[in-house]
C-alpha cells in the first residue's frame, strides 16, 4: 500500500502527537492500542495548559472574570458536542466521566423510573462490560429482565435472534454497541433504531468506538441515548458524554445530588435544575471538558470523511497483511467493519504475543477486552487486538506483521 493514496497527510498529523516520537525499549513506538485510549494531540494539551495557566476558576456560580471565562469555555464545549452529534439542542448533552458513567446514569435514573419490573432490556453478545453490567445491576435491583441478542459467526447482529428477543413485546430498551471493541463490526444503527421504535422500545447506542471513526448524527439515527468517552476521541481522561433526547432528559430524575444540579434546596424538599445541569452535580471536569472541546475541533478540522476513508484503507491493508501470517486467525468478518482487529495465533497465547511485540516497540492489547461473554461465544479465552487511530500508518501494520512473524518463529 502506498502512502500517497492515504486520504490525509498522516505524517503531518503525527507531528501533532508528541508521544508518537518516543522510543519504547529502544525501538520506534508503534501504538496500536488506540481503541483502549487514544493519544492526545498538542492542541488538546495546549488547551488544557491554557485554561490552567491563564483562565481558570470554578464555573457557573462566579461573578468574576476568570470564572466567566472558564464558564464560557466549558459551556462552549456543550455546543461543540451538540454539533458533533448533530443533537437537536445543547441541552441534550450531559457531561459525565466516561461512557461507563453515561450508561450507568441512564440505568440508575431512566431505568429505575421509566422501566417497570418485568420490562426487558436487550443487549447483544458483543457488548463491552460497560453496556452489560449496569443492566445486570438494574435487573437485580429493579426486577427488569435482561435478554441477549445473538451474533452470527461473522460478528454481525443476528436479525432472527433480534426478532425473537422482541417477539413478546416486552423489550423497552435496546442497548447496543455502535461498533464492537473486539470484532470491529459496526451495527446498522438507523435500521435498529427504526426496529426498536416500531416495537415500542427506546434505543441506547454505545458509541465509544464508533465516534472515533465516523460522523455520527443522532437525529438521522434517531437515537434516544448515545454515549461516548473523551479519551478515545483524542481528548483527556475524566470526561464523557451522554446524549439523550430532550423529552427523555426532562422526565428523568437526577442521579447524583449536590451543587449545581438543584433549583432550590430546603431541608424538606429540594427541586431540580433543568437538564443538562440536573445531571451534573458538583464541580465538573472543567479542564478536561475544555480539552475535549479542543479534541473535537481537531478531528473536525481533519474531517470525518477523511478519517473514515483512512480507517477503511488501514483496515483493508491490515486484513490482507495479517492474514498472511501463518497460524494467525482474525476474529469476525463483518461486512461493515473498521479499525479494530482481534486475532489469535496457533501455539502463542495472546499475552505472550503482546509481551513479545512490546519488546519490539509495538503496543497491542491482549485479554478479554472487557467482553468476557463474547470470548465465550468466540470460543477463546483471550485475544490480541490491534486498533487504529488517525495517526496510524500502513507501515505500522507492516511492522506488526513482521513482529508477529517473529513471535511465530519463537513459538514454532
Amino acid at each position: 500500500m502506498s502512502l500517497t493514496t492515504l486520504p490525509m497527510d498522516v505524517h503531518a498529523i503525527r507531528q501533532d502527537f508528541p508521544i508518537l516520537s518516543q522510543k519504547v525499549h529502544g525501538k520506534p513506538f508503534v501504538f496500536l492500542d488506540s481503541g483502549a485510549s487514544a493519544q492526545k494531540p498538542k492542541q488538546v494539551i495546549e488547551a488544557m495548559r491554557f485554561v490552567m495557566e491563564e483562565q481558570y476558576a470554578n464555573v457557573h456560580r462566579g461573578l468574576h472574570y476568570m470564572s466567566e471565562k472558564a464558564s464560557d469555555a466549558y459551556e462552549n464545549v456543550r455546543d461543540k458536542v451538540a454539533e458533533l452529534l448533530n443533537a437537536g439542542s445543547r441541552e441534550e448533552i450531559v457531561f459525565t466521566r466516561n461512557a461507563t458513567e453515561s450508561i450507568n446514569l441512564v440505568a440508575y435514573t431512566w431505568g429505575r423510573t421509566a422501566l417497570n419490573p418485568g420490562d426487558v432490556v436487550a443487549v447483544s453478545e458483543m457488548e463491552h462490560h460497560a453496556n452489560l453490567v449496569p443492566w445486570q445491576m438494574l435487573r437485580d435491583a429493579h426486577g427488569t429482565e435482561l435478554r441477549i441478542i445473538k451474533i452470527t459467526d461473522s460478528g454481525e447482529l443476528d436479525w432472527d435472534s433480534l426478532e425473537q428477543v422482541f417477539a413478546d413485546g416486552k423489550v423497552k430498551l435496546l442497548a447496543l454497541t455502535h461498533m464492537s471493541n473486539v470484532l470491529g463490526s459496526y451495527t446498522p444503527v438507523e435500521r435498529l433504531a427504526k426496529f426498536a421504535h416500531a416495537h415500542g422500545a427506546k434505543i441506547l447506542l454505545d458509541g465509544s468506538q464508533a465516534i472515533v471513526h465516523r460522523a455520527v448524527d443522532v437525529r438521522a439515527i434517531d437515537a434516544d441515548f448515545y454515549v461516548f468517552s473523551g479519551h478515545k476521541l483524542y481528548g483527556p481522561t475524566g470526561i464523557g458524554v451522554l446524549y439523550a433526547k430532550a423529552e427523555i432528559l426532562d422526565a428523568m430524575p437526577p442521579f447524583l445530588g449536590g451543587g449545581d444540579m438543584i433549583a432550590s434546596v430546603s431541608y424538606q424538599k429540594s427541586t431540580w435544575a433543568k437538564p443538562p445541569h440536573r445531571f451534573e452535580a458538583g464541580t465538573p471536569a472543567i479542564i478536561e471538558t475544555i480539552g475535549l472541546g479542543a479534541a473535537i475541533d481537531y478531528v473536525r478540522a481533519i474531517g470525518f470523511d477523511a478519517i473514515a476513508e483512512h480507517e477503511q484503507q488501514l483496515t483493508e491493508h491490515a486484513l490482507a497483511t495479517l492474514n498472511q501470517v501463518e497460524g494467525l486467525r482474525i476474529l469476525g468478518s463483518a461486512q461493515d467493519r473498521g479499525g479494530v482487529i482481534s486475532f489469535v495465533m496457533k501455539d502463542a497465547h495472546a499475552h505472550d504475543i503482546a509481551t513479545l511485540l512490546d519488546r519490539q516497540g509495538i503496543a497491542v492489547r491482549a485479554g478479554h477486552h472487557c467482553a468476557e461473554p463474547l470470548m465465550g461465544r468466540l470460543g477463546v479465552s483471550s485475544t490480541a487486538r490491534a486498533t487504529f487511530g488517525l495517526y496510524t500508518l500502513p507501515e505500522e501494520i507492516d511492522a506488526l506483521a513482521s513482529g508477529l512473524e517473529r513471535v511465530r518463529k519463537i513459538f514454532a
Binding site: 497465547h349 499475552h351 505472550d352 509481551t355 519488546r359 470470548m375 479465552s381 483471550s382 519463537i410
Partner: protein
Amino acid sequence: MSEALYQSIVLESSRNPQHAGRPAVFNAEGRSENRMCGDIISIFRGADGWRHEAQGCAILAASAELMCIAATGKTAAEISMLSWMFEKLVNTGEVNPELGDLNALASIAQYPSRLRCATLPWSALGNAIAGDAENG
C-alpha cells in the same frame, strides 16, 4: 536481550511439559485463576508427585511445569521456602542458585505486568497444601 523471558527452557517447559495433566488418583488439589486475563491453573499431588493443568500463556505453563519439577519430593516446609525464594526471584530478577531451573523465570522482573502469570501456579500449590493440611 530483549526477549530474555522466552529463552529455550521456558519455551520447552511450556511446550513439552512432563508434569502436565490431572492424575487419575491424587491426594491434594489446588486451584487459582486470574479472571482479568482468563488464566486458570490446577495443581494435583498424585502418586508420582506434583502435576498441573494450566490454561493460559507460555509463562504460566512454564512456571507450572518448572514448579512441579522443583516441588516434587519436597516437604510442605521446603515448598514454602521455595515459594518464598521464587517470589523474591521474580520480583528482583536476582538469580538464586538454590532455585535451579526456576531461575529461567528471573527476567519476569522486567515484565511487571506478567508477574502474575509466573506466580499463579504457586498460589494454586499453596492452596493445595493448605487444603491438604485442613483435611488432616
